[in-house]
């Protein structure tokens, strides 16, 4: 509960686009962490001073150019060694900086935790402490409103169903153990496996909903692909609204990946312009193409661009091969202002665009949004934090393990531990399943008791 030695970190300026982002870090060994990631010519880590420098990751890649304020115990807000990073205020930058800090040994602060530490270290008196208790109460409540309550309101059926099914499996298992001579009819292996697959399905469903919700909080990656000189960079510029990528008439100008973030109806959409994919290329381009392939694999959505003013080529065929097995693809026919040389009839519902005349961009944006959210109704989308998503994924694995255990006819005493683990993983999502809940289920569903 109280981990005084942990280093805690949080974006204290709030996770919104702004000119400057502030990341606050506190903890006994926080300055050692700072020394690992902060590269500055003049920094001597004296208290109450501000230093200029760069944050770099372990491969010495620059994350951002920053100002760091150092506060040493006890002369800090929390009373511990701590520091604050002023970085650029873009969402992605703030996230990258926070991730760097977390990767180097800090953990995400709980709501009100900085203030809590200030209180522990006698930086705040008892009167203020009352306010803090209320603050934790209300902040946690807010977090709950956003995640849990929202979940409950929007997905009552999924959550209730999931909880009921897991509780039933637990109850049945307990009936088998605690009432052996009562000849009760419990479900057979096949029925249990069906129930488990329903549980798996419900968890997957939640994950899918959450995945969409994550787009709103953490953004989505969109990769633009197409043969050289099809107008990928122009499209990027058009989407972003200013010249970012170098646009020339020479095929293969974009050798590295160029990215920009736009706001797509609330989703921070990171658009990546790729090196054109073609069959013959020189060495430099090849590196770009390797990166392109990785990027395609990691993208949440692909924009495949074709040129309707030119004939279908083998290079277009390469693109078709790539998108054939991808789920989230939006196809675009560029240069719709020019006479059509070829009808791309085999593309399903392409969007006609003219980068030159800036036409069709709104259609494209709408399509990008609807494709990202698939069939999910916007109002059903939930936001889960990373730990909740990880918990659901662990629960999926656990459900598979339990299925195996059932098939092996594992001892119910051990099955019970595995079921308990499953319930524990998603406790923060479905609520704690108490022994009383299991017993209630036993008495409801089984006629036990001599």
């Amino acid at each position: 509960m109280i981990n005084d030695d942990d280093i805690i970190a949080a974006i204290s300026s709030g996770y919104v686009e702004s000119a400057i982002g502030i990341i606050r870090v506190s903890g006994k060994h926080s300055l050692e962490l700072l020394k690992k990631v902060f590269h500055s010519k003049k920094c001597d880590y004296k208290s109450n001073k501000i230093y200029y420098g760069f944050l770099k990751d372990s491969s010495s890649k620059i994350i951002d150019e920053v100002l760091v304020s150092v506060f040493k115990a006890p002369h800090s807000y929390t009373g511990e060694d701590s520091f604050e990073i002023n970085c650029h205020g873009g969402l992605l930058i703030m996230r990258n900086v926070l991730e760097l800090i977390l990767e180097n040994g800090a953990r995400l602060a709980e709501p009100g935790e900085f203030t809590k530490r200030a209180f522990f270290n006698n930086k705040i008196d008892l009167v203020q402490a009352h306010a803090i208790a209320n603050l934790i109460q209300s902040k946690t409540q807010k977090a709950l409103d956003i995640a849990f309550n929202q979940l409950l309101k929007k997905n009552t059926t999924i959550i209730d169903n999931l909880r009921e099914k897991i509780t039933f499996l637990m109850a049945e298992n307990e009936v088998i153990i605690d009432h052996p001579d009562e000849n009760l009819s419990t479900s057979n292996l096949k029925e249990k496996l069906i129930l488990l697959s329903e549980i798996t399905h419900l968890i997957e469903n939640l994950l899918n909903h959450a995945k969409k919700g994550q787009y709103f909080f953490e953004g989505a990656n969109v990769a633009i692909i197409g043969k050289p000189n099809v107008g990928k960079s122009s499209l990027l510029n058009l989407l972003v609204g200013f010249n970012r990528a170098i646009v020339t008439e020479i095929p293969g100008t974009t050798t590295d990946i160029v990215s920009e973030v736009i706001n797509l109806n609330g989703i921070p959409l990171k658009i990546l312009d790729t090196a054109g994919i073609r069959q013959h290329s020189n060495e430099i381009e090849f590196i770009g193409i390797q990166k392109t392939k990785e990027m395609i694999d990691n993208a949440d959505l692909l924009i495949a661009v074709f040129d309707s003013s030119r004939n279908f080529s083998d290079e277009d065929k390469v693109i078709l091969d790539i998108i054939k097995y991808k789920k989230n693809v939006v196809t675009v026919l560029n240069k719709s202002d020019l006479p059509k040389k070829f009808n791309f009839t085999f593309l399903s519902d392409p969007i006609n665009i003219s980068c030159e005349n800036k036409k069709g961009i709104d259609d494209l944006k709408n399509r990008l949004y609807s494709t990202l959210l698939e069939d999910y109704n916007e109002s059903e989308i939930i936001s889960l934090n990373t730990s909740q998503v990880l918990a659901l994924k662990s629960a999926l694995k656990q459900a598979k393990r339990i299925a195996k255990s059932y098939k092996k006819f594992l001892d119910p005493a051990l099955i019970s531990i595995e079921l308990q683990q499953l319930a524990d993983y998603i406790e923060q999502i479905i609520g704690k399943i108490e022994n009383e809940d299991i017993l209630d289920n036993v008495f409801k569903n089984f006629c036990v008791g001599k």
């Binding site: 509960m1 109280i2 809590k116 209180f119 522990f120 006698n122 008892l126 402490a129 009352h130 306010a131 803090i132 208790a133 209320n134 934790i136 109460q137 946690t140 409540q141 307990e174 088998i176 153990i177 605690d178 009432h179 052996p180 001579d181 009562e182 000849n183 092996k408 001892d411 119910p412 005493a413 051990l414 019970s416 531990i417 022994n435 009383e436 299991i438 017993l439 008495f443 006629c447 036990v448 008791g449 001599k450």
Partner: protein, 628 residues
């Protein structure tokens, strides 16, 4: 008023399963003890079913045994049939159960009490408790005698304002036709305890001569029975059969059409009944789709013709009881000896108790058994044992005897009682124990011997014996972990002969034994240098090796659990001064007064946020109380 001139260290009210254990343990710890009972003839009586043990209950019996109680020895000497339940499942959930010869059980227990040093038994009905300055002083009987004591254990069972229902008829009784204790609960209320009301029931007892046993399925006990007590030697009990019968549609029709004659369904009974021990009328109403319900016909006594009809507890009218019984195959001509009945009684919500079973209101006053809202002989005995030990510790001014949820089923039960309180009669289940894999019946003595010895509840000889067993088990375990077999063709052939896969690399014996299809006995066929172990030792070795991963997992969980249990909440902690806690949560906290943050977490309705806030203020208090 006559004040009896002799003052006792401890008085126990009630001669049932809680009272007997409490009195015996107090006396065995050299306290001058007096047991007062309404009927000396009924000491050790089994009011309901003629069985001891069962799932999780068997655990309790063995815990009573290791901590110096009598129940295990008593059933070993007077059992009619012994059986390990759940044999078809893994050994972690095996449980012992025995059918008892009820009069023999009762008489032996009475004999033990009568021959116990420092223990006196007196027949009387206690009307009042005497409290002075918040401390117990003594008791006053219904004929105006006062007996003085420094500690009092009340184990009054269902006798407090007991009221029996048979159909729409009701009369006052503590058990069957014995007189109730009508005044004691008022005296407890005067002392500040909140009294509630519960209900339970029992089944008709049948005349064996009128049962057609040939039409029923006999069920015997184990051929190689295992004793409950680690002290029992030369165990050779009888093996009387029980018989299995079934209700049918006709039975259910009779019951359904007579529900208006049930005090339960006509609203006469206000006490709350148990869901896990439902009456036959409840079963028929709640599970209308079930075509039949099982009934176990169990012998009550080796020498009499009374048969206990387990599964038929009822409060229906006498006439209806006869009618539905006679619809059952094998019972067509049955005669009832004693009818089934429901009983309503006063209880004290155990939320008013400490883990020692002492009341928070009155120092030196301990409660045990059904008065705390539990049901079952074993639950009662375990509480009697804990209350007895703690009364002694209280009088000797020694460290209280508290069993953790990670230590014993008794600990799980008492923590549940004092933390969650009771809404319906409480019964123990293995599912209530978080660390079921570690809290097994087979290792009860090994787990708890140290604690028992520390509190002076086990003698040196027995303790040494247990130590020896533990040593042997540990040696065998390390032998299995450190002895390897080679993948020679000869050895692989042997492996195939016991239907398990050959090995490709050298493998430890424990790896081999961990295979599901391999057990100690099959290994003995192919390996001739294995140590000679008895059944129990083999069982323990197999559990330790086969369940190792799961056992380690539970050990880790216990470590986590202990972290929270080690955060102590001081007795004078003021919840009113803490902002951010809801009024309801404050009320519950003040009611339970949790000893640790871990216990606070287990209070129903507690939220993680509330726990966090409490932890902040606990920490603050610690920081402030530290010298600057």
């Amino acid at each position: 008023m006559y004040i009896y001139p002799k003052k006792y260290d401890c008085i126990v009210i009630g001669g049932g399963h809680a009272g007997c254990e409490a009195a015996l343990i107090c006396a065995r710890l050299n306290l001058n003890t007096l047991l007062i009972t309404i009927s000396v003839d009924a000491i050790g009586a089994m009011s309901c079913n003629p069985a001891i043990g069962g799932l999780a209950k068997g655990h309790l019996v063995k815990e009573v045994d290791i901590f110096g109680g009598e129940m295990a020895r008593n059933i070993d000497e007077t059992g009619l049939q012994f059986k390990i339940l759940n044999r078809s499942k893994g050994p972690a959930v095996w449980s012992s159960r025995a059918q008892a010869d009820m009069p023999a059980y009762r008489l032996r227990m009475k004999h033990m009490l009568e021959h116990q040093n420092h223990l006196e038994v007196k027949q009387a009905t206690v009307d009042e408790i005497v409290v002075e300055d918040g401390k117990i002083k003594g008791v006053i009987t219904n004929i105006g005698n006062e007996f003085l004591c420094d500690a009092l254990i009340i184990a009054s069972g269902t006798f407090l304002k007991g009221k029996i229902f048979i159909g729409l008829k009701e009369f006052h009784a503590g058990r069957a036709w014995e007189p109730p204790a009508d005044k004691l609960s008022e005296s407890l209320a005067k002392a500040g305890l909140v009294i509630g009301r519960l209900k339970t029931g029992t089944t008709p007892r049948l005349d064996a001569r009128t049962i057609d046993f040939d039409a029923l399925e006999p069920q015997l006990g184990d051929e190689n029975p295992i004793a409950f007590s680690f002290k029992t030697k030369n165990f050779n009990p009888p093996n009387y059969p029980c018989y299995l019968a079934y209700t049918n549609e006709q039975t259910h029709t009779v019951i359904r059409s007579n529900l208006d004659k049930s005090p339960l369904y006509s609203g006469m009974i206000h006490g709350i009944g148990t869901r896990y021990c439902p009456s036959i009328e409840d079963k028929v109403v709640k599970f209308p789709d079930r075509e039949r319900h099982q009934i176990f016909l169990e012998p009550q006594d080796a020498n009499s013709n009374e048969i206990y009809a387990d599964g038929l507890n009822t409060s229906l009218d006498y006439e209806v009881q006869i009618a539905y019984l006679r619809t059952i195959k094998g019972l067509e001509n049955v005669e009832i000896v004693r009818p089934g009945y429901a009983i309503e009684y006063d209880f004290v919500n155990p939320i008013q108790l400490k883990h020692t079973l002492e009341t928070k209101k009155v120092r030196g006053l301990f409660l045990a058994g059904q008065i705390n809202g539990t049901s079952g002989y074993e639950e009662a005995a375990a509480q009697g044992m804990v209350a007895g030990i703690n009364a002694a510790m209280y009088l000797m001014d020694k460290e209280p005897f508290i069993l953790g949820r990670d230590e014993a089923y008794s600990g799980v039960m008492i923590d549940d009682l004092v933390t969650r309180g009771v809404k319906e009669p409480y019964r123990i289940f293995t599912s209530r124990a978080e660390y079921r894999l570690l809290l097994r019946e087979d290792n009860t003595h090994f787990r708890l011997a140290d604690k028992s010895y520390r509190y002076g509840l086990i003698d040196k000889e027995h303790y040494a014996l247990i130590q020896e067993h533990i040593k042997k088990l540990n040696e065998t375990l390390s032998h299995f972990k450190n002895t390897y077999v080679m993948p020679t063709p000869q050895f692989n052939k042997k492996l195939e002969s016991i239907n398990t896969k050959p090995i490709k690399t050298k493998v430890s014996l424990s790896k081999l034994l961990a295979r599901p299809e391999v057990n100690y006995k099959t290994l003995q066929i192919i390996l001739n240098n294995l140590p000679d172990l008895n059944e129990t030792e083999i069982q323990q070795l197999e559990i330790e090796i086969k369940y190792e991963g799961y056992i380690n997992l539970q050990k880790q969980q216990i470590e986590k659990f202990k972290k929270m249990e080690n955060i102590i909440i001081p007795d004078n902690f003021n919840y009113d001064n803490i902002p951010g806690l809801s009024a309801e949560i404050k009320m519950r906290l003040k009611e339970v007064l949790p000893k640790t943050l871990g216990q606070a977490m287990r209070i129903p309705g507690m939220t993680p946020v509330a726990i966090q806030i409490i932890s902040i203020f606990l920490h603050k208090k610690n920081v402030q109380s530290k010298p600057a």
